[in-house]
Symmetry: C2
């Protein structure tokens, strides 16, 4: 991983100045109408973007992120807090402390909100402090010190410091120069060290590795192999250096630059320039009060988060039969990642990243590129985050919302039996996508939450960006005695693409028609017929098993032992008596095969099963625990769940881990075409019948009329 | 299943008259330009459609389907063929007999083609005859009689006859009337009987069941439960009647009509009328000579097929580095379906459909609805098929081709480490989709082949249409003693959604850089480190295993025993020495759990494994065999493969089965929102590096300018 915090100190004041005086996004016409700060995309018929003046922003919903004003207030309160008089603690996290769920559920617009609170995590004297600040009472109301293992999220200062300490170390410095690298072309990264036993416990450490950026910004493809420093961040010193790669050349830099402006040879055929448009009458969604998204029959609260990137809250869908707006999901977000590289050598063994807790998906988020990351008519949302000195900064355009008309079919039927009437009915599918991308060093993770009018939510993760590669003296495979001795295939001259996995855990606090739910595993079991009973020998039966305790819902997916996975509301039944529910439908995925007691697997023990269900507990948010850096795995989903608590007929949380195995190939060099995988949350007896039966087919008149742009 | 052939006799002459005098699709401007009958979508800037005069069509490619002229010629030749003098055989199939693969591969435009041949399957005297007709020599050149089990595809006449025989049977007729159904509201279907033992062997049989269509065209939701006739088609008599459902009411018809025109209540909120447009500068693909599709770096031959629906042939991709057009897939198509219902009772046990071989996906294909099934600017292709009297007919607009701009990301990277230069690169994804839909009675199967510029092909199957449901006296679940006693959940009053599976087998004749390939199973295996070797205890290794014989490639997917599945060309290596290849990447899928010796599982034994590889054999096209109706499973992929033939370093065929388990729910009533699943064929070391690195980002000027239509 990489030193991935994204703004330098010197930039912050400049940024605030810009915020104050300038719009972030060019306007054609202002799109802000009405007293409720609502952006009407479809009526304004312009780009759906308005100037964002975060300095004056207020919150409108109990789950809204802390505003700039609130962040500044917290910093002031902390500066007056006596334990912090003698020093300036480093802020590793400063974020909204969400009100109790029951209070959020009870909130109504126009009524007083629950008190606004901030949760601050600071490091002081090697200890992690968790502080609650009450913004209404203007004081610290809680202060706990972490006694478990692990440290908070790494800051940019940590990473800079690790690199500086390494480069200030004479031996390390010398080793770099010996590789023939000039300091002006050197790029070094601070990488998370994981936890691998007592020698690194009790202090904060990072690994430092370097790359050569001569003639290319794609330094990832030019590793200085086998040179790793372990840096003690507390004492600011190098504690260990491995330099086992002296004889491994630095891979050449040609053909690694991916920027369009430097491509010297145009694609042989580039016919896609005049591409199908998405421009239209304007999108059909509105964003109220900065964070409430309303589209078709869906509404939900959407916000950026410095740790997990993006949070969808209070997702509700309107029942077209009753007009009722019904709860589906209280909260959904990517709670942790686990990215183990499959190479045990001294420069690779520790690469077992947990990117959300170690670096922060929001902190690493990208400014989305219009028309390329997100189609035209996308709505862009900023993140307001906090630097390690407690000062707010803006991560602009880090989330986009857009309506997708992908050409898929919503439902259809051609009636072939009846000739009169002739029936050929089809309806097209239009969906809403909410997207962000986190560039966690080399890798770019694209997160999509896609909402369909039939009630289905599809959660998709896309992977792009660069491989983490290993230098080698091999320029081709012919000299390799046994390719299996390498930790991955050769993807370019002197470049090995090391085998690795990606696991992304999703925290899915389903609230089907309310918080009181149960989890039902519907097993499909083969039954044999009795002798003489039927010409059939076998068939399947669905057997419903309500999970009583956590152990009943620790699930490893098996193709030959299939099940459905329902979250139901046992108190709400359809008119037929079926319980209202949603089911989790996995797509393609992968499972971790690492030894259960391998340190990285202990830390990421949430990957021991693909599915878990826990009783709602406000402290159980992140599957890898709150303090992930160098954690020993003592505060993970797997540990919480050992208590085997009751999960029937109460507020429960569903956890699903999406996985990828990645054996790299040449097409991944020097940058990877996106691969993706997804899972669905699908209504099951939630609606009385097909909820989109009465949708109108699309006619020619529904479509706008387009002419080519002048440049065509 | 259903009586699913789609045109009455009386229609055919009318149709031919229409063909002769009228365009099938309204024109704005003719789009046919040039001597090569090329449609230039992007230049014409109108709807990409031209009038199709199939009567005068000629073939242009050895794999082109038989033209109307050729079909008529075959019929003439057959009428003069002495064994058929004394009777008129029923044509169960009349289609192109494709030339030997080596001849097709050797064909070049402008040079003489291999001779045109037709393969005709007729039934005569209860025997299936396979006849080759040489259209150049004007005579029958081969005539074989099937000695194995099974019968050819069911014709519309068969289905009509089965229903007529049943309704002419006094006992059956009386049983229908006793249910309170008037004949004017009766809809009866001929269903495939499968094979269940000696009592039905030696003669062609079908099952007949009836439905009530009073006040709704959605008669599927109103079954006359438990009344089944078995009809002997050869002797035209009823051989068995089950009437065990007398006490089961016919489900009510309210809320079952799905036609838009009859919806009495508009959706509570219908905001999606003014929907995002796909109108543009026009699509970027051309269709040459009716069947050759060229888009971006892809080209392939595309045709309709009466049995399998749609065939993609000679799919080739241009290598942007070398300019070379390289072979990827010789042929790909859905070769068979298997849809077993999980209910052993007398009216359900036999519902174990093999829809391609029994009814024909092309024969059942739908006329795609513009703007709903396929976006604007789609190109539509007809099928030219043959009725049971040997006369040609047109299945209009049964395939569409469109460019999809779905808002996904092709690749991206934001560089967070370097501050100078600031790098934020992203490219959007544009793909080409080829689609058809087969309405096999109640179910609609949507087949998509999606081509990406990075070389990936995604094959997707969508399911919509109606459930096959079972009548019951239960109006809600409260009276049901044990829900597991029913063969599925209650989805409406008196309606059980019977549990069932869908399996779709794909024949993928991969020709990676030519026909000589090998199959490599790359297993990901856990390795343990040695004591003291590393702080890591475990990691994964990729182990390549080249399949030598068929048994090495009979694969059941296992999440905890993962592998990659490569088809490589051992004679073509990248500059690094990696063999050129493509890998099959499964998505979500399902596996059949039926007893291996259960008759339906024997017939569909291709579902015993998810993946198979066979040596190319021109007779091995359809995974369930050539004669599927009432087959005993003696000519399936599983049987061919028992020979355990060598598959290394030769022309091989990859077979993949995509599966769904379906436990119905209320949302599936009265018509199902589309569910879909897919798999990918992805280049692996096929290209020297990322093939889309040099694609330009999309800029504002690339997009057309749109205004709302006047009706907005």
């Amino acid at each position: 991983m990489a030193k991935v915090s994204c703004i330098h100190f010197s930039f912050i004041s400049f940024l605030i100045l810009i915020l104050f005086s300038h719009s972030w996004f060019p306007l054609l016409k202002p799109g802000i109408l009405g007293s409720r700060n609502r952006v009407f995309g479809s009526l304004s018929k312009t780009k759906v973007q308005q100037s964002k003046n975060h300095l004056t922003e207020n919150y409108h919903h109990p789950l809204d992120p802390l505003t700039v004003k609130e962040i500044n207030k917290v910093r002031t309160i902390l500066s007056l807090y006596s334990p912090f008089f003698s020093f300036s603690p480093t802020i590793h996290s400063l974020t909204l402390e969400e009100p109790d769920k029951s209070r959020v559920l009870g909130s109504k617009r126009g009524h007083p909100f629950p008190p606004r609170k901030a949760r601050v995590i600071v490091l002081s004297d090697g200890k992690s402090h968790v502080i609650s600040v009450d913004l209404d009472l203007n004081r610290v109301t809680d202060h706990a010190i972490n006694t478990g293992s692990g440290y908070p999220q790494i800051t940019m200062e940590d990473m800079n410091m690790a690199v500086n300490v390494a480069l200030s170390n004479a031996q390390f410095n010398k080793s770099v120069l010996e590789r023939g690298v000039g300091l002006s072309d050197l790029v070094c990264l601070g990488l998370s060290a994981g936890w691998y036993g007592p020698s690194e416990e009790g202090r904060r450490v990072m690994k430092v590795q370097c790359f050569y950026s001569e003639n290319t910004p794609n330094f990832y493809m030019r590793p200085i192999e086998g040179l790793t420093a372990t840096v003690d961040l507390d004492n600011k010193q190098v504690v260990q250096i491995f330099n086992t790669g002296r004889n491994i050349p630095i891979p050449p830099g040609n053909n690694t630059d991916y920027r369009f402006q430097v491509q010297d040879k145009l694609p042989e055929k580039d016919p896609l320039k005049s591409i199908s448009s998405e421009k239209s009458n304007g999108p059909n969604f509105i964003v109220e009060d900065e964070h409430i998204v309303k589209w078709a029959n869906w509404e939900f609260h959407l916000k950026a988060d410095q740790r997990v990137g993006m949070v969808i809250s209070q997702a509700r869908v309107r029942d077209s039969e009753t007009g009722e707006t019904r709860s589906v999901m209280y909260k959904g977000f990517a709670s942790e990642l686990f990215v183990p590289y499959m190479d045990p050598d001294d420069s690779w063994y520790f690469k077992t990243y947990m990117d959300a807790g170690e670096f922060g998906l929001g902190a690493c988020s990208s400014k989305l590129v219009p028309l390329n990351d997100c189609p035209g008519n996308s709505y862009f949302m900023d993140g307001v985050f906090v630097a390690s000195d407690g000062k707010p900064y803006v991560q602009p355009n880090m989330i986009c919302v857009f309506e997708r008309n992908s050409g898929d079919i919503s439902w259809r039927h051609t009636e072939v039996i009846l000739t009169d009437p002739k029936i050929n009915e089809a309806r097209r599918k239009v969906t809403l996508v909410v997207r962000m991308s986190a560039s966690v060093g080399n890798y770019d993770y694209i997160f999509d939450w896609e909402f369909q009018t039939d009630g289905l939510i599809r959660v998709k993760v896309g992977l792009s960006g660069m491989l983490m590669v290993k230098g080698t003296s091999y320029e081709n495979v012919y000299g390799i005695h046994n390719q299996e001795d390498l930790s991955g295939p050769l993807v370019s001259e002197n470049v090995i693409g090391v085998l690795h996995d990606h696991y992304i855990n999703f925290h899915l606090d389903m609230d089907i028609d309310g918080p009181n739910n149960s989890f039902v595993k519907v097993d499909m079991v083969k039954e044999s017929t009795l002798q003489g009973q039927s010409p059939r020998k076998s068939y399947l039966k669905a057997k419903r098993n309500i999970a009583k305790t956590e152990n009943d819902a620790k699930i490893k997916l098996k193709l030959y032992d299939p099940s459905e996975f329902h979250v139901i509301n046992p108190d709400r039944r359809s008119r037929l008596g079926n319980p209202s529910g949603y089911k989790l439908v996995p797509g393609g995925t992968a499972a971790s095969l690492l030894d259960l007691y391998d340190p990285p697997q202990l830390r990421s023990a949430f990957t021991n099963n693909q599915i878990w269900v826990t009783p709602y507990n406000r402290t159980e948010q992140y599957a890898g625990g709150l303090f992930v850096c160098q954690s020993k795995g003592d505060d993970t989903l797997a540990v919480w769940s050992k208590r085997n608590r009751p999960i029937e007929n109460r507020d429960i949380v569903l956890w699903y881990t999406l996985g990828f195995h990645h054996i790299p190939c040449q097409e991944d060099f020097p940058i990877m075409p996106t691969v993706s995988s997804s899972f669905d949350l699908k209504p099951v007896n939630f609606f009385e019948r097909n909820p989109i039966l009465r949708v109108a087919p699309t006619a020619e008149d529904d479509l706008p009329v387009c002419r080519p742009s002048t440049s065509f």
